[in-house]
Amino acid sequence: MFETGLLPDWKAEPEAKYRGLLEAAPDAMVVVNQYGEIVLLNLQAEKQFGYRRDELLYQKVTNIIPKGFAERLIADGTRTAAEALDQQIGTGIELTGLRKDGGEFPIEIMLSPLENSEGILVTAAIRDISLRKAAEEHLAHMESRYRGLLEAAPDAMVVVNRYGEIVLLNLQAEKQFGYRRDELLGQQVKNIIPNGFAERLIADGTRTAAEALGQQIGTGIELTGLRKDGGEFPIEIMLSPLESAEGTLVTAAIRDISLRKDMETQNAQLHAKLRHAEKIEAIGTLAGGVAHELNNLLQPIIMMTELVLTELPADGQQAKQLLRVVDAGGKAAEIVQRILAFGRVDEACYDALDAGCVVREAIAFIRTILPSSVTLHISDIEDIGNGGTIRGNKTQLTQILMNMASNARDAIAANVGTVWISLSRLEAGDKRPAVRIGAVHPGPYVVLTVRDTGAGMDEATMARIFEPFFTTKDVGKGTGLGLSITHGIITSHGGAMQVDSAPGRGTKFSIYLPIEETQPVLALAS
């Protein structure tokens, strides 16, 4: 059924054709005259608004679209009705429809002009967008929930498209990498994860991008993150795919594992120290037992020989030969004493010492063992003065200095080289250094360093140098006990030790001894 109002020109047209078109339209169609009255409508309009056709014809359009429709057609001081309408043509305008039963529903209208003898009519195609609006609201609601989830995530979250560009990120990602969100959006993920991320998503001859990603899903991958300030930090990422209109995106949960890595490193160091301490303990027990037995055996060798010597002419050949037995016995006894030093530092008597005096006296000995091809540089010894009072055993401290100097000499070997010895202070407020032996606690320390231009060591060698009997020297050149004894002496002094070296770059030993805040009681400079 199709009825017309004031449309004489329409009646002249092939009416059936237009009526068919109008009624078949999926949207409600309403034609409105310049007075805002409905002059034509279709079946969809009846259905949408709940009126019969005759109830709407010649009624004001504001009855079914109370706001925003009629106003759009009204001329005002700045425009004619035609101009007003022109501005609306073709745009989808969202308004509210009012049903006969009083119910409201969202509509979208599209306007187009229709000219006839009466003037300009307006055709409005009205679409009920209730479903679309509900879907949009649902979507917005979901998005806000997911965004909330994303922002609340404890890890940095970054979504990357197939071009390796960041398309979404959360607050943690901003914090972790030190960028503002707008600085990262659209940027290459390589800017914040230089290696190992993008490569994992790339297709190659053997796999598609989807397969490449599939291989990574769910596995924790350890990589390095790059902050805006250039700082690097260890991260662990978990990847998962995210299907979207743009294709498959990759969601990456990125965790800063600096703390975990630090803990792992500390644990490894602690375990290494513990293993070393256990080894020293075991060797000490063994050494103690061996020393006891050897000393008992050396007793008759030395004393019986001495007894025989008392009965021989002192200048005779036999006496000279037997004296060598006594000498050898004495040397063997010294070695036994050194072995005993693992268990504990033997015969230790601790006095308040001026570190500078101890070092100066030791240097006098050191000069005697260095060949002319090795230059000895001393620095900062005088400056430390009495500010470097330590509690220790002078003989032992001299022994470790001699030991390090002889190691330096052997490292330089037949080459021309230099040995530097220096003494300085580590103040209470200074940062605590990393050490291999012992620990540097809060408080002041004297720092004794011996550096050489020798062959240097690799990490594997450095890890073993404090082990008893470990030596890099030729058979007969070293006992492998020097640094173990040094280790024992430093530890018994409450000190610490660090070694820095690299093959071909020389070696630096740093010894830290705690400063005692009293004056030395012994005058050692004599």
């Binding site: 027990t285 103690g288 037992g289 020393a291 000393n295 008992n296 007793q299 060798i301 030395i302 007894l307």
Partner: protein, 141 residues
């Protein structure tokens, strides 16, 4: 000349020290552990006891303690070849318990003679006055 009790579990050491001591004209009686040492100490009269520290059955520290209880003025030289923690600890302890001298093995002949001369020349421990030149192994009444 003095009469000396030598206590050590190592026969080679006993033989060596006995020979050295005898070379100075002293007489020597030997024991191979603390129990035997105490038995001989109680039974005899000695001017001096030379004892090892680490021995089976009864070690030297315990033996010194009992000897000093029985005869507070007993002159004792403690000797040791060391052990797990070195010989100094034991010898220091022996000295604290009243050993007149301590010697680390291997002992040199001159060291031994010096210690013998010093100890024998000393009347008795300053802390424990005793009139008898010979130190009785039996408990003081």
């Amino acid at each position: 000349m003095a009469h000396i009790l030598l206590v050590d579990d190592e026969q080679l050491v006993v033989d060596t020290l006995r020979a050295a001591i005898q070379s100075k004209g002293h007489t020597v009686e030997t024991a191979c552990n603390g129990i035997q040492g105490l038995t001989k100490f109680s039974a005899g009269r000695f001017d001096l006891v030379i004892t090892d520290i680490i021995m089976p059955d009864k070690e030297g520290i315990g033996m010194i303690l009992e000897m000093r209880q029985a005869a507070p003025g007993a002159k004792i030289i403690a000797i040791s070849g060391g052990g797990r923690t070195g010989n100094v600890e034991f010898l220091n302890m022996a000295a604290k318990l009243g050993a007149a001298a301590t010697l680390k093995k291997p002992i040199q002949l001159a060291e031994l003679f010096q210690a013998l001369d010093d100890c024998l020349a000393r009347d008795c421990g300053a802390d424990v006055p005793q009139s008898d030149k010979h130190l009785a192994g039996t408990p003081t009444p």
